[in-house]
Structure formats: C-alpha cells, structure tokens
Symmetry: C2
Subunit: 324 residues, 2 copies
C-alpha cells in the first residue's frame, strides 16, 4: 500500500487522529503526512483538520482508486490480492488476458472507469460509460476441467447477488447462466472466457459488468426495455467503491468454497436466487432450440433441462427465454 | 504462389518443359525463367536442362518451403490455404495463437524446421530438432462447444495415421486421446489448445509433432524407451515435404467431415485404428485414477469407460495406461 493509502486506511479505522500520531504510526514526518493529506484532498477525499480532533475523513469520492480499494478490502485469499484501475481501456477482459499470458498470478482484478469496447457474450457489445458502473475482470487459474468452468460463473453470480443485496437491500434474481436481473431487466452480466487444453484449464478470465449509477435516460432506447441499474432499482445513487469492495469480498469467499470442493453449497444458494429453475424455458444453442423445464444444476454447474420429450439434458450455455 | 513456385508446380506436372514454354505459360521473359531456375537450384532442387527435353526436376531437397508445399497441396477447403514456414520458433502453437488473436482466418498452417520450446500436453517438453520431423500447428475456428473440441483431436489422429500409412506402409496405432504409436512407442503427438467462452469455441490451435527422420541415437536416452520415428519403423529416411502434404490433405478432408456433421464416420475409422478400445486401462485425471474397460467414443469424442464398479464414465482427457 502507498503512504496515502495507509493514511486513508487509518482514517477509516479511527474517527479523528492527530498528525503527530499518523507520523509516528507510519514512520514519516508530520510534513509528509500533511503532503499526503493534500494529495488525498486533491483526489476528492474531504478531510477535516481540527486542533482538538486531528484529521477526520468526512466523505470519499465516487472514484475507483487501487490503493483505496486494497485498503478497504483488507486480507483476501485470492481475489483482489492485486488491483489495477484504468481510466479507460478497450475491454478489461483483454487487459487481463494479456496479464494471463505474461504469467501474472491468479487473483489480479482490473477495473476500468470506462471501456471503449466492453464485451458481452458472443462478442456482443457491453455499454460501459465512465463512472457509471463497475466494469472489471479477474484472472483465475483453478485446477478445473474446461467443462467445469461453469461452476465459476455460478459462484460469481451468487457472490454478486449477495453483495448487491447487502449494499442496496434489493435482491437480484439470477437468470441462468450469467445474468443478474431486477424486475425482469438485466443489471449485471458475467462473461467467462477460458484458455485450455482438452482436459485442463490454463486460465479463466471472469468479466463482470454491473450497471450501478446509470439513470434511465442514460440507456440507449433499445436497451431501456431490457436493462436497468442499481440506482433505478434502489432509488438512490450508490457509492461504487463500497459496492466494489463488497463484491470482491463475496467473490473471494465463493472462490475459496469452489477450491475446497464445496460447489454443492454454492449451487444451493444459487438455486434459491435463480428464477430460471422450475420454469418452462426455451434455450437457443447455435441454430438449435431446446424447450423444457429447468430442473436444477448438476455438479459441474450445467443446467439440467427436462425436455418436452422427457429426456434430461445437460446444458452448458446458451440464450435462455422463460416461456410465459 | 511465387513465380518460382509456379515453375516448380509446372515441372512437377510435366516431365521436361522448355524455357520458352515456361516463359509463355507464366508470362515472363526466358531470362526471368532462367533466374528462377537458378534460385530453385540454390534452394537445393536438382533441375536438369537439356536442349531436347528442356528443364526437368530430378530431385527435391528435404526442406519445407511454403511455396513448394502450397504448389504440391493444390486446392483445399480450409486447412493449408495459407502455409508459413519458420526456420526456428519457440513453439508453433504460440505463433498460431498470436495469429488467432490478430484475427487471421482459419486454415493457416505454421511449420518450423526446429522448435526451441516445443510443447506437449500439460506443459511437457517436446523434442523438435531441426529437419528431423514435422513440427506444425493449425488455426481452426469451428462452430463447436468447448466439450466437443475432442472431436478435432480424434479427427487429427485419424487423418495423420492414414497419411503415415499411405506414405510409409506402416500403420500407426492410435492411443486415446492424442498419441500415435508404432510398436508401443510414440511417433506423433497432438496438442489441442482452445480459447472459448463457456458454450462457444473462439478458436482452436492444433499442434502436431511427427518424429520423421530421427535415428535411434538422436533420441535422448530417457526418450528412447518410449519414442520412435517413422525412419526407425520404415527402415528408411522419408521425404518430409511429401509426408507434410499427405497429412494436410487428409486433415483437410477430415475437418470437412466434422463441419458437415459426419463425426460418426470419423469415429468409426478412429475406433478401428485405436488400440485403447476394448482394453483394461487406468486413466489419471489430476490426482484421481479411474480403472475400467475403454468401450467406445461418444458423439462428442469423449472416451466411454466402463469402470470397475460398472458405471459408464465419459472421459475427456487424461493420461491413459493400458493394463497388462
């Protein structure tokens, strides 16, 4: 952590701390403390200074700052050990894929305030305007077979739904395999990309897009029918750094469960949050459409579909439509 | 095709052709024809010139030359539309993966006379000395789901076994999933690497290594027990360009069958050539070992194993040992 991040972490733990205490605790001069406080103020942190109470953090800006996120996150097992924030990138998945090829360890998270070429599934575009959402990607190197990668999508959806519920009071529904929905509209998408041999995952890039603070008018008209934001759902603007930290904490917890072989526990919670289970659905797989009832997840994360002909099919991906 | 390659193609079709005919046919001066003939002689082609019979190709060098391979190959559907030859690379799979990310069309084949970091499955090293084998990789962009990628490994093994049999008279056995064996020793390995979303392959890099002309003494002692070459098996040195062309032709044919949905036909031939089917085997999957009888391939290319407990398991990869 940088000195400024250490000061921030201290100000978050303690409501009022003197420059002398900060200098002592962080092993720097009072003049250096003052310079870092000025630096933080410049970044948008409102920090009060009074002779009696010392420095107090009053408000934080709605900006993603790597040191600030690391300081808030505290110790993690894997996800968020390393956080990098870009003002703008093409696609955070592309940035993380490059890190993967360069041999970077799993757990690195790359955020972008804006993406110029945000991607959804099958190369679809993902709207990623500056400062309005959480657009990020995570590098994982789990010891899984390619067909088990769906487990990570399931765990990711569960973790993010839980974090959103904590932070906003609104519980999103999970639509299999990779969407979080509020009132029937998409609020978060997950893009799982993998590099593998036939029987062995080399690495996985988990891309996440959460529509946080878009106002209704900020969606293009073709998206307004099908997409929403947490701001619209909760009726207020949400602080993105808090939400980002809550999501990373839940993701780290779920990933640890997967690595410990406790996928069944993850799947249980997922099924409770999932509106697809129990429904009559049609699923498009390339140029084939399967219809039937979504029954459950199997142990690899695949959807078990009881087709209209009574057969049980394992479905690993595809576009799902719930039949009315 | 370059002018020199066009001259080569003509000399291969016609046993003796005058400089005047060549000049007319290729739209160049007789002096230019002569210059290209000299260029080909410089590359190792033995070309006779006589006043009566004109130019005749007597012998070709055992070198991989992109234009020569393209000229010999003739029209193909996908595989071999574009051929590139490197004197030495780290790994042809890495070269092709870079081409894939740059958006190059499927069907490109990259050969290297030598690889400094040839790779086998699970990051194992693959010995690739200069001029002794066929070390190459192919870029494919099939409309498959990741778990169907095994089909391509099956088709590749079948095509290469057939081409080797044509060219040498020796029929290799296929050892599931990705090895060709002669007299119980490995002569060819196939490394299938894929980039995918959960339900959709973005691209596949098929890497192939065929030990063609290594003499027994050219294998390190630890490999001598388990590896062999076509030269050892056939008792003679084999011309690599002919073999390369035969392999690409068979691969192109098998890939077209896969794309037409005729995987069952591919699997039939594969099963006839496969020594694993019908055997009692043990298969290592990470830290788990399954034992049972290998019964057949399923429609996705997975091995159906009847375990010692009577259950039928679908196996997608792993290290297979045939029990004695």
């Amino acid at each position: 952590m940088s000195p400024a991040a250490q000061i921030l972490a201290t100000l978050r733990q303690q409501d009022g701390v003197s420059g002398a205490d900060l200098a002592l605790r962080l092993g720097m001069s009072r003049a250096a403390v003052w310079a870092h406080i000025e630096e933080l103020r410049g970044a948008g942190f409102e920090i009060e200074a009074s002779p009696h109470r010392g420095y107090r953090l009053v408000t934080s800006p709605d900006r993603l700052l790597a040191d600030d996120l690391l300081a808030r996150l505290g110790p993690v097992q894997v996800i968020g050990r390393d956080i990098r924030v870009f003002q703008e990138t093409n696609s955070t998945n592309d940035v993380v894929e490059k890190l993967a090829r360069d041999g970077v360890a799993e757990g690195v998270v790359v955020f972008a305030e804006a993406q110029s070429k945000g991607r959804g599934r099958l190369g679809r575009q993902w709207l990623s305007p500056a400062g309005k959402g959480l657009w990020f990607s995570i590098l994982l190197r789990p010891d899984l077979r390619p067909q088990e990668a769906t487990r990570l999508t399931v765990a990711t959806a569960t973790a993010i739904a839980r974090a959103i519920q904590q932070q906003t009071g609104v519980a999103p529904d999970i639509k299999w395999p990779n969407d979080l929905m509020i009132a029937g509209k998409k609020v978060c998408g997950i893009l799982t990309e993998l590099s593998a041999e036939l029987d062995h995952v080399k690495y996985i890039v988990l891309g996440v897009g959460v529509d946080v603070n878009l106002a209704s008018g900020e969606f293009p008209s073709d998206l307004r029918r099908i997409a929403t934001s947490l701001r619209i759902a909760a009726g207020r603007v949400l602080p993105r750094p808090e939400l980002a930290v809550a999501i990373l904490q839940e993701l780290d917890r779920e990933y640890a469960r997967i690595l410990r072989g406790q996928f069944a526990d993850v799947a249980d919670e997922w099924e409770q949050r999932c509106t697809t289970i129990g429904q009559l659905v049609s699923i498009r797989l390339g140029d084939r459409v399967l219809r039937g009832r979504a029954e459950a997840l199997d142990e690899s994360g695949a959807l078990l579909l009881r087709t209209e002909h009574g057969r049980l099919e394992r479905i690993i991906g595809g576009d799902v439509t719930v039949e009315k």
